[in-house]
């Protein structure tokens, strides 16, 4: 089989060997239900609490502020619906978010709009970054919650979270951040940064799929999203995904411990990739050049369409993704690229390469070798490219 270059780490990551190793006993010997009193159950409890401590340490939270969930989407739903319903009891029914959130946030907001909440969608501008002064002027006396993602999943831009959260604290508004793409990649301190709620997901940082967590600041009691048993201190029912939780603990510890060194390496590869790819005529980098995730490269190539670019790259053994509509089953281009002001025809030709710790310099060489060839092949058969180049000549 052809060697595969996997550069879609913002979609998901491979489980790290140490994570898998740590998880296996909980599928074999220690299979008990952590709520049971006999030893095979009891033995599952302590490692779970250990994982909670590891996550808390990475975020500078307390262990009792971490609640395990099935992943990022559940954490987002719980935080936003919970905070909205809590504050609605005090007559506050206005919510603020941004135009380029993940659908786990956007669709949750839309569900709340149907319930009668009013939502303001802040613009993110050409650089893909929210302006704190625009947040401040959007806040009203009945604003219940602000939810702004830490880093964007498509274009990788990192938001000024400390400034945004400070504004919220000043006005007595709850602040939630979907940090699914940021945790393990960016230093986060929920106390110093005044974050009230933060969502994270395991499979973006080399833990398995199906596990995540919500940080909820102590003193804030959200209504439950999932009712049932007494798990997670009566706040999130359901028998715990013990192996997944243990894996998440190991993964987050690995991610946070090696962050600085890994980021130095990733940023160097990312920058080389960006510089190389921008040699291609009529290409552009989406989102701010500096304020972006260490592994994120988001590009648009005029005159070609994203899905055919991805399929072509896949035939060369390169697994990447696109903001293109075609992959999501809709005919509209990515809402993120439209939110940063790209016209439809350019937004159709997008490519997202997201690097992870397992990627190598040789792989970057390979991508820089293949990408220009694929783009120029697709352009050679594109009538749109003819139109563009004809306009150039005129």
């Amino acid at each position: 089989m052809k060697r595969v270059i996997y550069v879609d780490n913002a979609a998901t990551t491979p489980v790290s060997p140490a994570v898998l190793e740590a998880m296996l006993p909980f599928y074999k010997e220690i299979y008990g239900n952590p709520s049971s009193i006999y030893s095979v159950g009891r033995k599952a409890k302590a490692p779970m609490e250990d994982a909670r401590t590891k996550i808390a340490r990475c975020l500078n939270a307390q262990a009792n502020e971490i609640y395990f969930t099935s992943g990022g989407s559940e954490a987002d739903n719980w935080a936003i619906k919970g905070a909205a319903h809590l504050m609605a009891q005090k007559g506050k029914k206005h919510l603020i978010t941004t135009a380029f959130e993940h659908h786990a946030v956007l669709h949750t907001m839309q569900a709340l709009e149907k319930e009668g909440f009013l939502v303001t969608y802040l613009p993110v501008h050409e650089n893909g970054i929210v302006r704190p002064e625009e947040l401040e002027s959007a806040i009203r006396s009945d604003t219940a919650l602000v939810s702004i993602m830490y880093a964007n999943n498509e274009i990788g831009t990192i938001q000024p979270i400390p400034e945004l959260a400070e504004i919220c604290r000043k006005h007595g508004v709850l602040f939630h951040t979907d940090a699914v793409q940021a945790v393990g990649n960016v230093p986060i301190d929920v106390k110093a940064q005044q974050i009230d709620m933060l969502s994270l997901s395991g499979h973006k940082l080399h833990a398995p799929k199906g596990v995540g967590a919500l940080y909820i600041r102590q003193g804030l009691v959200l209504p439950n999203l999932i009712d049932g048993g007494a798990q997670e201190r009566n706040r999130r029912a359901g028998t715990e995904n013990v192996a997944g939780i243990v894996g998440l603990g190991v993964a987050i510890e690995e991610a946070c411990a090696g962050m600085e060194e890994r980021n130095r390496r990733l940023c160097a590869m990312r920058d080389r990739l960006i510089e190389g790819a921008l040699q291609i005529p009529r290409s552009r980098l989406n989102g701010d050049r500096q304020q972006r995730l260490p592994g994120n490269v988001s590009l648009c190539f005029e005159g070609i369409e994203g899905e055919s670019l991805l399929l072509m790259l896949d035939m060369k053994g390169i697994c990447a993704s696109s903001g293109s509509a075609c992959t999501s089953g809709s005919l509209d281009p990515s809402h993120v690229l439209l939110a940063i002001g790209l016209p439809h025809e350019i937004a159709h030709g997008s490519l997202r390469i997201s690097l992870g710790s397992q990627n190598t310099e040789e792989e970057i060489d390979q991508i820089l070798e293949e990408l220009p060839k694929v783009v120029s092949y697709l352009r050679s058969m594109s009538p749109l490219w003819d139109h563009i180049t004809k306009n150039d000549r005129n």
Partner: protein, 143 residues
């Protein structure tokens, strides 16, 4: 979303890509806002399509349906080519995912647009023969 092997074959090795410099008819359908544009070139001798080429901007299905449509009309008479339906193109490709059906519609329209141009160049009003080719509206490609 999964493409059939036939779609992938026509995407990876598209037939009849290119232009015909002295074409007898050229048709272009779709628009860049929708994310697909197809352009077809025809060479016609004694009412028979002797050569056909295409250029397409679009997704995998757009390229594959263009390629298949050119194969299906090459060597056919004009009236046979006008009978080509999007359904026939789809069937020849062993099906398309539901969101990609519009690509086959575009391929059918591209052939019709090229034939219409062929008639127009000969001073014949194509509308009674070819019918009306719908414009691609914003956000609604084909279907």
């Amino acid at each position: 979303m999964l493409y059939s092997e036939k779609v992938m074959d026509h995407f990876a090795n598209p037939r009849n890509v290119g232009e015909i410099a002295d074409a007898d008819g050229v048709g272009e359908v779709g628009n860049s806002k929708c994310g697909d544009i197809m352009r077809m070139y025809l060479k016609v001798e004694n009412d028979v399509i002797t050569d056909v080429k295409f250029k397409t901007f679009g997704c995998g299905a757009a390229i594959a349906t263009s390629s298949m449509a050119t194969e299906m009309v090459k060597g056919k008479t004009i009236s046979e080519a006008l009978k080509l339906t999007n359904r026939a193109v789809m069937e020849a490709l062993d099906g398309l995912p539901p969101v990609k059906v519009h690509c086959s519609v575009l391929a059918e329209q591209a052939i019709k647009a090229a034939v219409a141009d062929y008639y127009t160049r000969r001073g014949i009003d194509p509308t009674p023969i070819v019918g009306k080719i719908p414009e691609c509206e914003e956000g609604h490609c084909g279907v």
